[in-house]
C-alpha cells in the first residue's frame, strides 16, 4: 500500500511541470508537502477500529479537570458538546445566536445519509464510501471518507434513541428516499425539516449536560481570536454581543465547529450570520486553510427577485426525486405560461443528457447545466442582466402519478415556503429555480484526528475540509457533522487530552495579551474610520465579484481580475467604512464589520486557490479544462492533492502545502453519470 508517508518530507520547490501550468505564479509561494495525515495504515475497513484502540484513554476522574472550548452549536458542535459533556469533560460552548438550537444546521431540509441498507437495494458501507469519493470527484482523503460511511449507521441509531421523529412507513419502521448522485435509497428524513429535527436532538442532549453541570453555555458570544500559547491552542477571545465585553476563555483544547463560509458570496442559502471569522482568525494564527475554492452551488434555489435580496432560499434536493427539470426548447417560449407549452416543445435537459441519472445527477452538474441553458437564452422568469436566470422544476407528472395529497405529505413545507416567497402556487404552476451558493467543501485543514496543524485546535463539521472532496453529495453534510461530533472527535481528542491538563496560562501571558489587544484595536478601528459606506454595501460588492469570477465557472483572466478588485475593495473598506454606535452595547453593524473584514481576506485566497487549480473537479469548474461535450476534466497527474494554504502575513503571499491524495481502496476514474 502506498501511504502518504511515502511521499512526505520532500520539498519540491517549483518543479518544472508545476511551473508550466502554474496560473497562480506570483501570487503564492510553495512550501513543504504535508508529511503526515495520521491516517492509519492497513485495510481500509479496519483502520478506524484500530485507530480507536491505539488512541489513549483519559481516566474518568481526570476528565473533570480538563476543559474543552467548542465554538459552534450546530450538528457538529452540539453533538460534540453533548458527548464530551457526557464523558465528563468541562465543556464551554459558544454560539452567536441567542440559543444553541438556532445554529444554521437547523435549516437543512432534505435528509441524512446512512448505509443501513434497510431497502435491501445493495447499499453497504463500501458503496456509501464509493459514492462519496466519486461524488467528490476523487479529491477527498479516502481514510476519512471510509470512516464517515462506517459510523453513518450509528448516527441513525443515536438519533432515534434521542427521539428524532424520522419519517416511518406503515409498519412503523424507518423510511428512506433517494438523493442526487446515487442509485440507492439511503436518505433518512423528517419531511423537509431533517436538519431541524437532528439539531433539536443534539441541542436537547447538550441541554441535558448543561443541567448536569458539564456544559457551560455562552450564547450571543462571538469568537474573535484564537489564543496559541507555546505552540498549542489554549483559548479564545470572545465578545459578549449584548454587553460588548471582550472576554478571555482558556482551555486544554479548542474545537471549531463554526460552520461554512458561503456568505463570502453575500447571497447564499446560509443563515445571515454564518461567517468565516472563527476559522479565519485561526488561519491567521497558523492553521492551514484547505481547498478554499471548493464551493457548492446548489441547483435548486428560488431565483433572485431584485436588488433588495438579502439571502437565497433553497428548495431541497429531495424535490428532484419527483420534480422534472426543463426549459423551453425555443427561446420564443420563455415568456409564455409554462402550462401552455406542449410536451414536444420542452427540453428536459438533464434527462436528455444524462439518461441513467436524469434529474438526480450530482449538484455541480445540475447547476452548471442550468447555467448553460440560461446562457443559451432559454432561461425563464425575470431578466437578470442580459439573461433570464431560471429553469422549471415541474411536479405536474408527480401529482398525476401520486396524487396531490401524497405530494403534499412529502413536501408541504417546501411548497408553502415557495408560495410565500414568490407569490406563486407550485401545485398549479411549475416552480422556477436557479443555482445558488449553498455549502463549502473547503475549510480548515485537519488530519485524520480532525486536528489542525496547530496542536490542540480541532475542527469539525462544515468548518473543516475533510470528507467531501470537490463536491458534496446531498444529505452528507448532516451525516458528517454528526459523525464528527458524536463519534469521531470524542474518540480522537482523547489522544491529545491524555497529556492534559496542560499548565495553567495566566491572562497576563504575552500571547493572551496580544490576542486581546488585537481584538480591541480592530473594534476601535471599525468604530473610528467614520467613512461613508455601510458594511452591507461592501459585502454586496464582494459577493458580486465572487459570484461573477469565482462562481460556477472560473477562468484565469477572471480570477486575476477578481483578485485585483478584491484588493481595491479591501483598501476602500479600511478607509471608508461607516459603523455607528459603540462597542459597549449590542451593535449589529459592528458584528457584521468584523465578519466582512475577514471575508475580504478569504475571498482573495479563494481566488488564488482557484487560479492555482487549473483543472475542473466537482464544484470547481475551470473553463480551460473541459471535455469536448463541456464536462469537467480533471488532471490527476498534476492536481491530485489537497491544497493547504498557510497564512503569509498581511501583504505577504500565502504558502501552499500539498497533501498528496492516494487511493488504495478505490480506482480513480473520470466521473460519468450518463
Amino acid at each position: 500500500m502506498a501511504s502518504t508517508a511515502d511521499v512526505s518530507g520532500l520539498t519540491q520547490l517549483n518543479s518544472p511541470s508545476e511551473q508550466n501550468s502554474d496560473d497562480a505564479r506570483g501570487y503564492y509561494t510553495l512550501g513543504e508537502k504535508i508529511a503526515d495525515t495520521k491516517a492509519p495504515k492497513g485495510l481500509i475497513a479496519e483502520r478506524w477500529t484500530k485507530h480507536k484502540m491505539d488512541n489513549r484513554l483519559v481516566n474518568p476522574a481526570n476528565r473533570r479537570k480538563m476543559s474543552v472550548i467548542i465554538v459552534g452549536t450546530g450538528l457538529a458542535g452540539g453533538a460534540a458538546a453533548a458527548t464530551l459533556g457526557e464523558a465528563g469533560y468541562h465543556v464551554k460552548s459558544f454560539c452567536y445566536q441567542d440559543s444553541p438550537r438556532r445554529a444554521h444546521s437547523i435549516a437543512a431540509q432534505g435528509g441524512i445519509n446512512a448505509a443501513k441498507n434497510y431497502k435491501e437495494d445493495g447499499d453497504s458501507t463500501y458503496r456509501l464510501f464509493y459514492d462519496t469519493v466519486k461524488g467528490g470527484d476523487y479529491r477527498a482523503r479516502e481514510s476519512n471518507v471510509y470512516r464517515l460511511a462506517e459510523v453513518s449507521a450509528n448516527i441513525i441509531d443515536q438519533c432515534v434513541a434521542q427521539g428524532v421523529p424520522f419519517a416511518r412507513d406503515y409498519g412503523g419502521l424507518l423510511d428512506n428516499r433517494s438523493f442526487g448522485g446515487v442509485q440507492v435509497s439511503r436518505t433518512f428524513y423528517a419531511r423537509g425539516q431533517t436538519g431541524q429535527q437532528l439539531l433539536i436532538g443534539a441541542y436537547q442532549a447538550m441541554e441535558r449536560q448543561v443541567a448536569a453541570g458539564t456544559v457551560e453555555e455562552f450564547k450571543r458570544h462571538e469568537m474573535l481570536e484564537l489564543i496559541v500559547v507555546d505552540g498549542r491552542a489554549r483559548g479564545i477571545i470572545a465578545r459578549d454581543l449584548v454587553t460588548g465585553e471582550i472576554e478571555t476563555h482558556m482551555a486544554d483544547a479548542v474545537v471549531l465547529a463554526s460552520g461554512g463560509y458561503g456568505n463570502v458570496f453575500f447571497l447564499s442559502t446560509n443563515a445571515m450570520g454564518s461567517n468565516v471569522t472563527a476559522s479565519w482568525r485561526a488561519h491567521r494564527k497558523g492553521a492551514y486553510m484547505a481547498n478554499p475554492c471548493y464551493t457548492q452551488i446548489h441547483p435548486t434555489c428560488i431565483p433572485v427577485s431584485g436588488d433588495h435580496q438579502s439571502k437565497l432560499t433553497l428548495m431541497s434536493e429531495s424535490l428532484r426525486n419527483d420534480g422534472r427539470i426543463w426549459v423551453p426548447k425555443n427561446r420564443e417560449d420563455c415568456t409564455k405560461d409554462p402550462r401552455d407549452i406542449p410536451e414536444e416543445d420542452r427540453d428536459y435537459y438533464l434527462e436528455r443528457i444524462y439518461p441513467s441519472f436524469g434529474n438526480l445527477v450530482p449538484r455541480d452538474i445540475a447547476s452548471r447545466q442550468a447555467k448553460n441553458v440560461c446562457d443559451e437564452g432559454r432561461g425563464v422568469g425575470p431578466m437578470v442582466g442580459d439573461f433570464r436566470r431560471g429553469v422549471y422544476l415541474d411536479f405536474a407528472d408527480a401529482i398525476k402519478r401520486l396524487g396531490e395529497d401524497a405530494v403534499r405529505e412529502k413536501y408541504d413545507n417546501l411548497f408553502d415556503m415557495y408560495a410565500r416567497i414568490t407569490g406563486e402556487n407550485p401545485y398549479e404552476t411549475p416552480m422556477r429555480i436557479y443555482p445558488a451558493v449553498h455549502y463549502v467543501m473547503g475549510g480548515l485543514w485537519v488530519d485524520y484526528d480532525l486536528q489542525s496543524n496547530i496542536p490542540g485546535l480541532f475542527v469539525a463539521g462544515e468548518a473543516n475540509f475533510s470528507d467531501h472532496g470537490a463536491n458534496r453529495l446531498g444529505a452528507s453534510a448532516l451525516m458528517q457533522g454528526l459523525a464528527d461530533g458524536y463519534f469521531v472527535l470524542p474518540n480522537t481528542i482523547r489522544e491529545y487530552l491524555a497529556d492534559a491538563p496542560f499548565p495553567a496560562v495566566d491572562e497576563t501571558d504575552a500571547a493572551v495579551v496580544e490576542a486581546r489587544e488585537s481584538v480591541e484595536q480592530r473594534i476601535n478601528t471599525f468604530l473610528s474610520i467614520n467613512g461613508t459606506r455601510s458594511v452591507d454595501s461592501y459585502h454586496k460588492e464582494l459577493g458580486n465579484i465572487m459570484w461573477e469570477y469565482c462562481g460556477m465557472e472560473r477562468t484565469e483572466e477572471g480570477l486575476r481580475k477578481a483578485i485585483d478588485q478584491i484588493r481595491e475593495l479591501r483598501a476602500d473598506f479600511w478607509s471608508n467604512l461607516k459603523v455607528l454606535g459603540t462597542n459597549d452595547s449590542l451593535n449589529q453593524s459592528l458584528e457584521k464589520a468584523g465578519r466582512v473584514a475577514d471575508f475580504l481576506e478569504l475571498g482573495e485566497l479563494m481566488c488564488i486557490d482557484a487560479l492555482n487549480r487549473r483543472e475542473s473537479c466537482g464544484g470547481h469548474f475551470r473553463a480551460e479544462s473541459q471535455t469536448e461535450d463541456g464536462e469537467a476534466l480533471r488532471h490527476d497527474d498534476e492536481f491530485s492533492y489537497v491544497a493547504a494554504w498557510e497564512f503569509g502575513g498581511d501583504g505577504g503571499q500565502p504558502v501552499l502545502h500539498k497533501e498528496d491524495l492516494i487511493y488504495t481502496a478505490i480506482e480513480m476514474k473520470q466521473r460519468s453519470y450518463k
Binding site: T83, Q97, Q162, G163, P165, A167, R208, S310, F487
Partner: protein, 247 residues
Amino acid sequence: MRLTLKIWRQANATADGSLKTYELDGVSEDMSFLEMLDVLNEKLNTEGEDPVAFDHDCREGICGMCSLMINGEAHGPEVTTTCQLHMRSFNDGDTITIEPWRAGAFPIVKDLIVDRSAFDRIIASGGFISANTGSAPEANSVPAPRDKAMRAFNVATCIGCGACVAACPNGSASLFLGAKITHLGELPQGQPERWDRVVSMVGQHDAEGFGGCTNIGECAGACPKEIPLDVISQLNKDLRTALKHGH
C-alpha cells in the same frame, strides 16, 4: 409603496423605550418584511442614526430567531414567521407598528430584541431523552406506530420562537411546553422519563415567571408552525397522571 413605520426604540435593558416614527419609500411587494427593515437600516446608517436592532438569522422560517410584534400581532398578519412575511401582505400608505415580544419572562435586550433564554432552561430541566452517545440500540429494533410518529413530528416542528408567549394575555409558555411534552411522550423512547419530565418542566416554566394557561387560545393562533392547542390538554393530562403517581 410608501410606509409609515412606528418602531420601538430602546437603548438597552434598563433604558426607557418609546415608539419612533419613520417614513420609508420605495418598498417593493417582493421584499420580505426583514428586507424592508434592511432598507430602513441602510437609510438610517447614511443619515447617522443607529440602525434598528432586531433578531434574525436563517430568514427561512426555521431557526426561530426572528420575533416581531407587527401591528399588535406576533409575526404579523399571516400564519408564518416574521422573516417569511412579505410586503405583499401590506398596502401602499399603511402605518405599521413594530414592537418586541412583550412578556415578563422575555426581558428586552435592545430595540426589538428580547432575551428568550428561559426556553433553554425549560429544555434543560427535562426536555430530552437520556441516551448517551454510543448506547443506542439498532434503530429499527423498536418500531414506532406511524400515526404516533407523525404526531410527534408535527409538534416537534416548534421553532422555539416565543410567539405563543407574546400572544398570550397571561404570558404563558404552555404551547411551547406542551409541544415538547407531546413530541417526546408520543415516542416509545420517551416513555421511561415521561412522568418526571412533565413535573420538572412545568416547575421550571413556572419558576421562570411564565403565566398559567386559561384556555384562551391566542397562542395557537399566533404560532407560525400551527402547533395545535390540544398539546396543552396533553400537557395537563400528563401532569395529572404524574402527580397522581407521586412523581
